[in-house]
């Protein structure tokens, strides 16, 4: 009622049947898993839908498949294994509670789940009494990991349009957006990191996002 972890809303009338008669389906999923390199969207959507009906085995399988991706997102933002694990746990409890609300028209299941974990981690990161690194710590922590590996990852994978579009942004805009997205930095933390005025950074972020959208939807 109070928390709003996802954007999904019910569109069709589901049933309250518990989904235990899923053996045949499980076998099929197992077969597909061997042949699939990644996590095909329809398998995740099926697992999510079963979880929405209370199927714990499907939920365990969903966790096995996506938790390493989601944990990486939380860890990257929080830079603290305990806090990241806690955000992952909170996020998965939320996914379990709201699985039935996920609707495929709202984007890929992994995106939906990632958003839940991201917002959970951002909530933790923004808590005033957070035991996590303060502004200075977070910015200093960037010195060791930096953006290098990520930029290399982006260089290496040109298939996604967003990477291509990101590369086309002017340097400061790209850097601001990446610091916000991957490191969870606020406008003022980015300004401190880049030693630029706050207003300038806000403009970079805004213009960067507008250009990204334009580039992705010409």
């Amino acid at each position: 009622m109070v928390r709003r972890p996802g954007q999904g809303r019910l569109t069709r009338a589901p049933t309250c049947r518990r989904a235990d008669a899923g053996r045949a389906w499980h076998n099929r999923a197992g077969h597909q898993r061997r042949s699939a390199i990644n996590h095909p969207t329809d398998i995740l959507a099926a697992l999510l839908s079963r979880s929405g009906r209370g199927d714990r085995r499907a939920f365990a399988e969903l966790y096995r498949r996506v938790a390493p991706h989601l944990y990486a997102v939380a860890l990257r933002l929080l830079r603290n294994a305990d806090a990241a694990s806690e955000a992952l746990q909170d996020g998965f409890v939320s996914i379990w509670m709201h699985a039935a609300e996920y609707q495929s028209g709202r984007g890929a299941p992994l995106t939906w789940m990632t958003s839940i974990i991201r917002h959970r981690a951002l909530d933790v990161l923004r808590q005033p009494a957070s035991r996590l690194p303060s502004d200075t710590d977070a910015v200093e922590a960037l010195a060791d990991s930096g953006l290098g590996p990520l930029e290399r990852a982006i260089e290496a994978d040109l298939s996604a349009a967003v990477h291509d579009c990101l590369k086309r942004l002017p340097g400061p805009q790209r850097q601001s957006i990446m610091l916000a997205f991957f490191n969870g930095l606020t406008h003022s933390q980015i300004a401190a990191h880049l030693a630029k005025p706050l207003g300038t950074v806000k403009t970079w972020v805004r213009q960067g996002l507008i250009s990204l959208k334009g580039c992705l939807e010409p």
């Binding site: 954007q7 309250c16 939920f59 998965f92 997205f181």
Partner: protein
């Protein structure tokens, strides 16, 4: 926000997804999201746009105990499944609600030495099982909390009671409640007025000792309407 300014809506949706929308602006935006399906659509579009960036991160195996903790937590809160459309659910609600009212009337009739009860709420879990009975005198200066079943908080967590005035306002903490037995909570003067209105009471799982921020952070596990008894 001018809710009709489409450029502004899109910018806020983008900054929400990016994480740069923060503090009060972020909370206000989340309240808009609850009411505005088109805005939810814009957020979903931005999430989809940005998602390939997230995939650039190499996966990291989470700690081994994370899954065990999740299993424990979902076992302690039976599932919220599609209940709105479920006939069995409404039948159960009907039966349970009737029994709860009878139990409450019997309880009230047999406890004449108790101070007059003017407000009462039966908090149910997601399977409509009554979990807590909460009552208050006409002055609303104290709440009597009685746990129907012994269902303690998960290890290292506390159960926290919230007053939810309405969808426009953030929940207000009323204190920690027991998982078993009874407890009396003193109601701060500032909250007594709000407790008189047609509020909702909710219980969430919070870190031990209660939410560190004073805001509701954990999942809501029980809730019920706060009713005046005339």
């Amino acid at each position: 926000m001018n809710v009709n300014d489409s450029a502004l809506r899109d910018r806020l949706a983008a900054e929400y997804v990016l994480g740069t929308l923060q503090g009060a602006a972020r909370r206000r935006f989340e309240r808009w999201l609850d009411r505005d399906a088109a805005l939810r659509g814009q957020v979903a579009e931005w999430e989809e746009r940005m998602s390939p960036l997230g995939s650039a991160l190499p996966p990291v195996e989470p700690p081994a105990d994370a899954w065990r903790m999740i299993e424990q937590r979902i076992a302690s809160q039976r599932k919220r499944v599609n209940l709105w459309y479920c006939v069995e659910f409404w039948r159960a609600v009907g039966i349970v609600a009737s029994l709860a009212v009878i139990a409450l009337l019997v309880y009230l009739a047999l406890a004449p030495r108790q101070p007059a009860v003017a407000y009462v709420a039966v908090l149910t879990d997601t399977a409509a099982q009554p979990e807590l009975i909460i009552s208050a005198s006409p002055a609303r200066d104290a709440l009597r909390v009685h746990a129907v079943a012994a269902r303690p908080a998960p290890p290292g967590k506390s159960l926290q009671l919230w007053l939810v005035p309405d969808s426009q306002h953030a929940p207000l903490s009323l204190g920690l409640v027991p998982g078993e037995g009874s407890r009396t909570l003193e109601v701060p003067v500032a909250l007594r007025q709000a407790l008189g209105a047609t509020a909702t009471l909710a219980v969430s799982i919070e870190p031990a000792g209660g939410s560190p921020t004073g805001q509701l952070t954990g999942p809501v596990i029980y809730q019920g309407k706060w009713l005046k008894r005339d």
